[in-house]
Amino acid sequence: MTVLSVKGLTKSFGGPKVVDNVSFALEAGEMLALIGPNGAGKSTCFNIINGQLSRSAGEIRILGVDTSGLDPSRIWRLGVGRTFQITETFLSMTVIENVQMALFSHHRLLTVWRKPARHFHAREAEALLDLVGMAEFAGRPCRQLAYGDLKRLELAIALANEPKLLLMDEPAAGMAPRERGELMSLAARIAKTRAIGILFTEHDMDVVFEHADRIMVLNRGVLIFEGLPEAVRRSAEVQAVYLGAGTLYAESHA
């Protein structure tokens, strides 16, 4: 099943095109990495898909639904989970309350005002925390967590609405090398067992080549390569973008 399809996505902030005619599709249970040098347009691409930015042109379908004009909260309701490059959590709450909050929203309990929140979905929240290995921290104030644990908490929050698509913006950024591997293995395992499609960006190539089923390479807004990790490794074009091939001047003089 195709969970995300992008066709001809284009974005300019008034000047040159930051994202230029990008098309791709993501299947359920697949981990797709979006890589590229700084300024390639990865984050822009990402923020258009999650609804934070508007697009200049192109079509995005999530589970078959056209997302044009939908804001982040509507897109979330389609079944999209999301983690941030710099974690965003509710720092005044405990760990389990963070997950419960997402569950309240998912189960449409936001207008309930007469009953204490702790009565709702505590067990479901515990199960999610257990899934990401955070069960022992459930009662901790969120602001006391180490950064790696915050990242895992974000993953639990992102899974609360039983998403079919998970958007992870640099999931391993700011973590220690061992933690990175663990987090990505966890994400990969969850993606397979729950048939969730994961789109992620990443700078750490070890993480990318170990966990991605497929890799897309973006450079200056253009998708220059797409394929299996081995093929990406061998591609001369990708090597030129990442390592430099001395073609920069030749191009600009042409």
Binding site: M93, W113, R118
Partner: protein, 612 residues
């Protein structure tokens, strides 16, 4: 036709001072990110000092020199205050900054009372601009023509200052990115002090220039600051040209509003402001700000009361219910008032602590409740119980209307807009004589016969206030309350889990407004009267001080804060004529030295005991 032209010119003349004060506020905000509430006080001081100087100095040079020296003197006072006080609170939350500068305003009012006495002072006419000139057959004060020229002149000078001097470049750079300017090795402290001094100079000059036009009074400060807030909300905070255009717009709306709605001239300004906010929430020339990142709170996560504290609270309620057997009539009426203000503070505390929405106009809903109840009795002959429903209903409607606009903004913009709405509600109550009784208020609103004794009225109050506060607490810990807190904690995360900020905040705003209105309706019958003061800025600020005193990061600190504050202020008023001075000093001291509040401090102690 000629009449309209004269009216238009009069509007332009009024715009001059408004622009001077607004641009000063805008420049200070641009660099320091502080909305200086005391700007109205500096405006007032400018007028007072100019009065004293021009009365002593003779001749044209004496007058004009007096005006300029007055602005310089007040600017110097401003510089000293910046160094002594503001430097300590640049990193504090915006509520603290607004409150501290409001504390200065209160102190300034009483100080000017001490120095210049209670009478309105009429200044000298400006030499060279005493008469009137003929404008298409109608006389027009020549001083007003001079003022019309002043606005553009100051705009031009500011433009040159910011474009042609090194200092101006630094100010513009700091307005865009403070950290970067600091990283480049610029001495931030002096940049901030100099910017603040310039802003205060402009405000004081605006006040001094009003001297030949109007009497100098103690009410000048709050009147101008409301208009200034409207101007910067319309023009865009931090933008001097926006302030210029909006000052003209607001002044013209005032000038012509009087012709269209002679009684309620502010309505026109309100309508235009509402329109601007719907189309451009960041103001005509303001820039939209990106989503703010999650902020950490230092307090422990909130918990419902545990067993022992719950017993303690129940014991306190039972004791309170037994009070009429021990206390006399006066004590009981004071106790009723304390209860009413506990509910008022609790409703504001809910907005601020749970939702991070700092309302500077919460008295509007208290007052709407008061007037709703009073009007139900006076105009419709309703019995007391019906009036106790009508009051909260009116407050609820007011919060629905005003809240819809307010939640479109956030941070200081939200604070300024709530204040502006409260002032509009106040001026309606003040001017709509036929219904509200205007300045004289509505009198003779006594409780129904079955609660006519102070003891019975006290029981009625207790029976309404305690459940109301309990409901507020219930909401805080409900899924809805969590959602309200979530949109405060992190905009990005809450959007990413399907929470819509505006409807959640709007609903909470209405809840808070309705409970405040219930307090207001009870207040009507406890006092037997209503006055425009019930929706005034001082009452709004009293509420903020109660919340701050109780502790912002607590669940129900406002209740304790209300108790302490109200008791303290009843005692203060009986002890001194200068209670505003004392209150102002208290606010400043609280913000600087005791930011956690009473309950916050107690919780801090408790926390240490648990984890030695």
């Amino acid at each position: 036709m000629n009449f309209y032209l004269v009216q238009f010119l009069a509007g332009l003349a009024s715009a001059a001072s408004l622009f001077l004060v607004s641009s000063g506020l805008s420049i200070i905000f641009g660099v320091t990110r502080i909305v200086n509430f005391a700007h109205g006080a500096f405006y007032m001081l400018g007028a007072y000092v100019a009065y004293s100087l021009t009365e002593r100095l003779s001749g044209a040079l004496g007058f004009w020199g007096g005006i300029v020296v007055a602005a310089l003197v007040v600017a110097l006072v401003g510089a000293l205050l910046e160094m002594l006080l503001l430097r300590r609170i640049y990193r504090a939350p915006e509520l603290f900054q607004l409150l501290a500068t409001f504390g200065l305003t209160l102190a300034a009012e009483d100080l000017s009372l001490l120095i210049w006495g209670p009478e309105d002072l009429l200044g000298r006419r400006a030499p060279g601009f005493r008469g009137a000139v003929d404008v298409m057959g109608l006389p027009f004060p020549s001083y007003d023509l001079f003022l019309i020229g002043i606005g553009p002149l100051v705009l031009l000078l500011l433009f040159l200052l910011f474009r042609r001097t090194r200092w101006g470049v630094l100010v513009r750079a700091a307005t865009q990115d403070r950290e970067m300017v600091a990283a480049l090795g610029v001495n931030q402290k002096w940049l901030f002090t100099s910017v603040f001094t310039l802003g205060v100079f402009l405000a004081a000059l605006g006040g001094a220039l009003q001297l030949p036009r109007e009497a100098v009074t103690h009410q000048m400060d709050l009147r101008i600051i409301t208009e200034v807030f409207v101007v910067v909300v319309i023009g865009g905070l931090g933008n001097v040209v926006g302030a210029f255009l909006a000052a003209i717009l607001v002044s013209e709306l005032n000038a012509f509003g009087i012709l269209i709605f002679p009684k309620i001239s502010l309505i026109l300004v309100f309508l235009v402001m509402a329109l601007v906010l719907v189309i451009r929430p960041m103001g005509l020339l303001g820039k939209a700000e990106g989503p703010t990142r999650a902020h950490a709170s230092a307090a422990a996560p909130w918990r419902p009361l545990d067993g022992s504290v719950r017993l303690l609270v129940m014991a306190a309620v039972i004791l309170a219910a037994l009070l009429p057997f021990a206390a006399g009539d006066y004590a009981l009426s004071v106790a009723s008032e304390l209860l009413i203000f506990m509910l008022y503070a609790a409703s504001l505390h809910f907005l601020i602590s749970t939702g991070g929405l700092v309302s500077f106009g919460h008295a509007a809903y208290f007052g709407l409740g008061s007037y709703g109840a009073a009007i139900a009795v006076k105009s419709f002959g309703a019995p007391m119980l019906a009036a106790l429903i009508a009051g909260p209903l009116l407050g609820c409607l007011g919060a629905l209307l005003f809240g819809w606009f307010c939640v479109r903004l956030s941070g200081v913009y939200f604070a300024m807009l709530t204040l502006a709405f409260a002032q509009i509600a106040w001026s309606v109550a003040f001017q709509w004589n036929a219904v509200t009784g205007g300045d004289n208020g509505l009198l003779g609103l006594w409780p129904a016969a079955f609660v006519a004794t102070p003891a019975r009225f006290y029981w009625l109050t207790l029976a309404l206030v305690v459940p109301a506060i309990a409901v507020l607490r219930l909401i805080v810990f409900s899924p809805f309350g969590y959602a309200f807190r979530a949109v405060r904690d992190s905009q990005l995360r809450s959007a990413a889990i399907g929470l819509d900020r505006q409807p959640i905040q709007w609903a909470s705003f209405v809840v808070a407004g309705t409970f405040a209105a219930l307090a207001g309706a009870l207040y009507t019958f406890s006092k037997g009267s209503v006055f425009p003061d019930n929706l005034g800025i001082p009452l709004s600020v009293d509420g903020l001080v109660m919340v701050l005193l109780g502790g912002i990061e607590t669940v129900s600190g406002g209740i304790v804060g209300a108790l302490v504050f109200k008791a303290l202020s009843i005692w203060l008023t009986s002890q001194t004529d200068y209670s505003k001075l004392a209150l102002g000093a208290l606010i400043v001291a609280l913000v600087v030295a005791f930011p956690k509040g009473i309950v916050g401090a107690i919780e801090g102690l408790g926390g240490r005991k648990v984890r030695p």
